[in-house]
């Protein structure tokens, strides 16, 4: 491993301010986690866009497959009763 050619890819997540969760902002190459963090700081927070950074090796992410996305998410599709708007509430009832 002597050139940037073999450096792994890292996914970068930034917390933009306290109280918010980390969000994905992009990716970068780096030889290890520590340098990935430093590179992420220089690349994704040049204007104080973040107060905290996570880096995760891209190869360690398990993702749902786009090919089966309808089937995969189908179980939620017909359960509209999970939403408050499903219910009829008589007029005059407040704070419900």
């Amino acid at each position: 491993m002597n050139t940037a050619r073999d450096w792994p890819l890292w996914e970068v997540f930034v917390r933009s301010r306290r109280g918010l969760s980390h969000g994905h902002v992009g990716s970068l190459h780096a030889p290890d986690a520590e340098m990935a963090l430093r590179n992420a700081r220089d690349l994704y927070t040049r204007r104080r866009e973040g107060v905290s950074i996570w880096v995760v090796p891209s190869s360690r992410i398990t993702a749902s497959s786009p090919d089966e996305k309808d089937e995969f998410f189908d179980p939620a599709a017909d359960k509209i009763y999970r939403h408050p708007t499903f219910y009829d509430i008589p007029e005059g009832v407040d704070h419900l």
Binding site: M1, N2, G26, L28, P31, D32, L43, A63
Partner: protein, 314 residues
Amino acid sequence: MHDHDPEERFQAIIDDDGRIEPRDWMPPAYRKSLIRQIAQHAHSEIIGMQPEGNWITRAPSLRRKAILMAKVQDEAGHGLYLYAAAETLGVDRAELLDMLHDGRQKYSSIFNYPTLTWADMGAIGWLVDGAAIVNQVPICRCSYGPYARAMIRICKEESFHQRQGFEILHTLSHGTPAQHDMAQDAVDRWWWPSLMMFGPPDQESTHSEQSMRWGIKRFSNDELRQRFVDMTVPQAEVLGLRLPDPDLRWNPERGHYDFGEIDFTELFEVIKGNGPCNRQRMADRRRAHEEGEWVREAAAAYAAKRAAQREEVA
């Protein structure tokens, strides 16, 4: 929705103004065309550091130097956002850099012009970054998600680039007569190349129609060029600088500025490699890459040492 032909489904997402994401099915030609465009865009960002890097050591004040360094750093960042977006399509950044270095892929021809005076830093920020913004804002809504997201980030940063250039020219234009002349000279040299940044006229543009259908491009070259001219003419008046085109005038019937004919033979010569700085830019790029090898080696060695230390402790 289930049994649709993937191509139909792909086009339906685009026609619905939806976004295609990396692991979605996409036509091979869409993938290929995006890789070409995003790579060329990334190469332009990093080659674009050279004409301005040329003036960092000679900036007229510490304030200007700090600003110019921040701008050049941003351009490096833009290149990296874009290489990362291209990699989601299944290419390696190292491979793209190889293609830049051996001339198989191109970068924007605008960076093949020399930066002769400090006023060029103003003209580049105002006109070149200004034209880039007009080109790039519609790509923020491009059909390919990672490219669109990179562009949103880039466009946010570009407005500082344009303003600092405008400020440089405004200061020079309202300075001594010699400073004013220097600003005018820079605008005289950069105006036409900036108009060429929008590419050949619509009748001669080879990739446009398909790119429009795929939601990669949203406006034609000529539409974007006109938008840039209409935006820029009033700004030139505030600067007190003349745009070097005797045919430039407001056309009340069209509701746009008319402008003179662009000499596209020059553009094609520069694309072919015969611009004033093509050879120098490529030589500098290759040299920077080669001379950076020890930094990459050191980073890898450091990573290996740290990993070994961790193992010892464990």
